[in-house]
Symmetry: C2
Subunit: 219 residues, 2 copies
């Protein structure tokens, strides 16, 4: 048991070390030696857990996705409205993209199209499915005006968020990300919320994207 636990911790350390090295040098320039050094493990231990750099990258993206999805469950289970849940999901991911090293490195590996032989589709697919469900719920409950079908909205929000965080990274190292995601939602809300409830909805958006996140840090 102790040995199993030790193996788990070593694996976690390697993934954290990889996140650190990728942040500093980029994935292409990162070597297994750098990752081992950053994690404080020997090459032997490294090769015990992972066969290649791409292997570690996959583990990192999986870990990033697990962290973000675990937080998402809490938000989806909360008693906010469906539209509010969608915004809270975006804010949660945005704040992790600012301050969680695993999430930061993971998204970089996902959007850099040269990281993997075949580009990763699953993370996008999972988020699109969650957002489609929420958008459908919002439509069913009359929260939205029904002009934009749920699948179309979900198919847009995920790529749009992806681009917004990428450009925010390019311009401000993501310092302005919550503000940019708020602006994205101001435009989306104007498209989907009936006119008589738009002001309330915009106020709730402003609230969500300017509040300091109160969240347990999950690993």
């Amino acid at each position: 048991m102790v040995q199993q636990e030790r193996a788990r911790v070593t694996r976690e350390n390697i993934v954290l070390g990889a996140a650190e090295v990728i942040r500093r040098f980029g994935y292409a320039n990162a070597t297994l030696g750098d990752i081992g050094d950053a994690a404080g493990v020997t090459k032997g231990a490294l090769y015990f857990h992972f066969q290649s750099k791409e292997d570690i990258a996959r583990a990192l993206v999986e870990e990033q996705h697990r962290i973000a999805r675990e937080a998402a469950v809490e938000i989806v289970m909360s008693d906010s409205s469906a539209v509010e849940k969608m915004m809270r999901l975006c804010m949660d991911l945005a704040s992790r993209l600012v301050d969680d090293p695993i999430v930061r490195a993971g998204i970089r590996l996902t959007t850099d199209t040269s990281t993997f032989e075949t580009p990763l589709q699953d993370p996008y697919r999972d988020w699109m499915a969650t957002f489609e469900e929420l958008a459908q719920q919002a439509a069913d409950e009359g929260e939205t005006n029904g002009r934009i079908p749920a699948d179309r909205l979900a198919r847009f929000i995920i790529p749009a968020f992806t681009g917004v965080q990428l450009v925010s990274e390019t311009f401000t190292s993501r310092k302005d990300l919550p503000e940019r995601v708020l602006e994205m939602w101001q435009i989306i809300l104007t498209a989907i919320i009936p006119p008589d409830r738009l002001e309330t909805s915009l106020a709730s958006a402003a609230n969500i994207f300017t509040a300091k996140p109160r969240r347990r840090r999950k690993r």
Copy 2:
């Protein structure tokens, strides 16, 4: 003069060769040797024009940007409405992202955050400025409902488009890009066009994004 012309052609060949190599192996894995081979030039000729791989990458991004901006001037000068111009600009770039090797490789170098020491901001900035001007024009001429300020709209459209093309690349190698950009515009139009003109505007969008592009191929 002949020599100058020859130098220009060689330079162009190197950039085209780099586009080909980057498409096949990714930037990180591309070597100067590969690029020279693909371009049919010697290492000597390569080093006469460029000091490093990053140098070639910068030339490629500049060339991509020049191609797209030159086409943009034509669209901006046309007599479409300002909103239509914004959609045509997106469609023009979308179709180049499908079939122009320089534009394809250039955007990949721009969005892969590990390509350059400092990430490139100028291409985004130029497009945002163009779109802000058009969005302002649309507002001034009463084409839009005035709910979304021009700068906010431009600051969203460019990142959103960037994300849409990235995710389309991931899922379908950009085969569905015009369709996805149409969906993006259906949502944006619903946010910015007054209700009594929305149907006409949506029809014009469908028209723009499903038409085969009639354009001269500029280099």
